[in-house]
């Protein structure tokens, strides 16, 4: 009995800690003026003025579109590169395969700050500074290591017989990838792609460094740069409204695809 009460309390605590900040953001986004500074579970006079202001005072719709374009492009590119790389790393015997996999993994351990200046030079020399393709390119450095690793694990779990059956049926490598592996891998692609999308959607440091104008900014940067009437005023209401606008779609996405995310995250842990 005591154990069950303790368990219930622990669950309540965990839920409160994880949902609390988001809930408070929602509440705050519906308040204006001095109501912001009176804590409560629900505002006395809820208003959507903050949401209107977010779109009125800066090109926030454009920022959302930028985020969708960059994150979507990064997902498509990452998956296309990672699937072909994973086929080679999982199924083709070649010298230095283990070293290559290790190198890919070690890239993901670099702190972002360490590569910031190098990445800046690279993007500027390619003429991609302050543009969405430049941002996408830099995000590939963040997403490719784990997409390659995850998909390599998934490809390894595909029975060798399946590939050989396709070979006996007369299929070449591209047919095998396209018509046998991709359909079998699609739950893995969904979960890997979603993780890559979240990384690109939430990224802040590169987005702040490699963009200059409001029209090329992505959402996290746009939110951080929302400013009030004076330097001494932080417009909490609008910041929270903007945060809710970009968080809710992510939460919905994750809830819809959570089954695949779970199977994707554990797939690497246990060898099937």
């Amino acid at each position: 009995m005591i154990a069950r009460i303790a368990f219930a309390l622990a669950v309540v605590l965990i839920v409160a800690v994880s949902i609390g900040p988001l809930g408070y953001a929602v509440v705050t986004s519906l308040e204006t003026g001095s109501a912001l500074f009176t804590p409560g579970l629900w505002p006395d006079a809820p208003t959507v003025a903050n949401y209107a202001a977010v779109f009125a005072e800066q090109p926030f719709a454009r920022n959302i579109l930028n985020s969708i374009l960059v994150a979507g492009g990064v997902v498509v590119l990452s998956l296309a590169l990672a699937v072909t790389a994973a086929y080679a790393l999982a199924r083709v015997e070649f010298r230095g395969r283990g070293l290559l996999l290790g190198t890919v993994l070690s890239v993901s351990m670099f702190p972002q700050v360490a590569v910031l200046s190098g990445m800046f030079l690279l993007i500027r020399s390619l003429g991609l500074y302050n543009s969405l393709p430049g941002l996408g390119l830099s995000y590939l450095m963040l997403t490719l290591p784990f997409t390659v690793w995850m998909l390599t694990t998934f490809v390894r779990q595909i029975p060798k017989d399946l590939e050989e059956a396709a070979i006996m049926d007369g299929a070449g490598p591209l047919t095998i990838i396209g018509r046998v592996f991709l359909p079998v891998l699609w739950p893995a692609l969904v979960s890997t792609g979603l993780l890559a999308f979240i990384v690109a959607w939430n990224e802040f440091l590169f987005a702040l460094t490699f963009t200059l104008t409001a029209e090329t900014r992505t959402v996290p940067v746009a939110i951080a740069l929302i400013s009030g009437a004076s330097a001494h005023e932080l417009p909490w209401g609008r910041i929270m409204a903007a945060s809710v606008i970009v968080t809710v779609p992510m939460v919905v996405l994750v809830l819809v695809f959570q089954r695949w995310i779970v199977s994707g995250l554990t797939a690497g842990a246990v060898k099937g």
Binding site: P159, D161, L162, E164, A165, A166, I167, M168, D169, G170, A171, T175, R179, V180, P183, V184
Partner: protein, 373 residues
């Protein structure tokens, strides 16, 4: 349709030799069963026939064409995998049509549909064509795997342990279906298994392998009645043949080590003192008084199998001799008994090969004692 000629085939994986010079000829339309213990190279041989592995040395001809260096799709062979390896995202129909579409991309849809339906009809899969593999039972998946292979009408059909994932009852019925399928198609089939019953019942040509070599190939009954080596003798039959190490005495009989009896040898002339192995199958033995038989010993264990009784008789050797007797044979453990058998049931091996073909009248006299042929 085509015969298969394998000549001096060698396959090495690094330092490991999986196939050590396999030479084998399978006539057109044969049902060949390659049998042996795990690790004897039988699956490697099948994969080389399929083209999934490259030969280190030697040649493979299918239907008179040298296919040794050709990729699988240019060999006109199809394979049924042990795990079935059905495409999980395709329906039964798509599974069977996949190879047809890839090979004959220009062929019209109607022809492909007709051929899939024909194969499905033959394997009783008509009602399952729209299902996915996940919705099928083990036996149904097996039939789809066979259907996917035969729908292309290959010259040679390869089967890798096709029955090993089925339960015992299903195995029996699929075995019957395989035999019927072979009668109907007339395709050359090569079937790999470790199960001697499968090999005995299905094969026209039985190929027994050991350590990367073919030990003996021929009709299954030939292998059973005239095993070329002690290995073949022990491999076929349950319980296996009794092999007694013995020494040839002055009077031409063989005396088993331990002195458990005197075994008259068939018409072979062996110098007294030569070491031989005398083989006799459990079911060939009959019980008799201790002093009247070829062997005498103490019964250690009696096993009742219902249709027969197994006596484990200690004749002074490391292993007891096993005799299979009629169900009404009665004896108690600890009793002494004699064992006798007909003269043509005696197999004699020397230095690992067969000496006499006493069971083939007229040939025993011409047997060459050194090579056993």
């Amino acid at each position: 349709m085509a015969g298969v000629e394998i000549d001096g085939l060698v396959k090495r994986f690094g330092a490991v030799t999986a196939l050590d010079g396999v030479t084998l000829s399978l006539p057109d339309g044969a049902y060949a069963v390659i049998v042996g213990r795990s690790g004897c190279g039988k699956s490697t041989l099948l994969r080389l026939l399929a083209g999934l592995e490259d030969a280190t040395a030697g040649t493979i001809h299918i239907g008179g064409t040298d296919v040794t260096g050709l990729p699988p799709k240019r060999r006109d062979v199809a394979m049924v995998f042990q795990s079935y390896a059905l495409y999980p995202h395709m329906t039964v129909f798509e599974n069977m049509a996949f190879g047809l579409r890839l090979r004959d991309g220009r062929r019209d849809k109607a022809t492909i549909t007709a051929r899939v339906r024909e194969a499905a009809c033959m394997l009783h899969l008509e009602d399952l064509l729209d299902r996915r593999p996940a919705a099928l039972s083990g036996g149904q998946r097996q039939r789809v795997a066979i259907g996917r292979a035969v729908v292309r009408d290959p010259a040679v059909l390869l089967l890798d342990e096709p029955l090993s994932n089925l339960d015992a009852g299903l195995r029996l019925s699929v075995r019957r279906e395989l035999a019927a399928l072979h009668r109907r198609l007339g395709t050359t089939m090569v079937h790999v298994t470790h199960d001697q019953t499968e090999a005995m019942t299905l094969a026209d040509v039985m190929v027994l392998m050991e350590a990367g070599r073919v030990v003996q190939a021929g009709p299954p009954l030939d292998l059973y009645t005239r095993p070329a080596t002690p290995f073949v003798a022990r491999f076929l039959g349950t319980p296996p043949m009794n092999l007694l190490p013995a020494v040839v005495a002055e009077d031409g009989t063989a005396v088993p080590l331990g002195g458990g009896g005197r075994i008259p040898l068939p018409a072979v002339t062996l110098a007294p003192g030569s070491a031989v192995e005398v083989g006799v199958r459990p079911e060939a033995m009959t019980a008799c008084p201790p002093e009247a038989g070829h062997l005498a010993g103490t019964v250690q264990l009696v096993e009742h199998l219902g249709e027969s009784v197994l006596w484990h008789v200690d004749v002074g050797l490391a292993e007891p001799v096993v005799a299979r007797l009629g169900p009404d044979a009665t004896i108690r453990a600890g009793d002494r008994t004699g064992l006798a058998w007909a003269a043509d049931a005696t197999h004699v091996f020397q230095d690992g090969s067969r000496l006499a073909d006493a069971d083939l009248p007229g040939r025993s006299a011409q047997v060459c004692p050194s090579c056993g042929h």
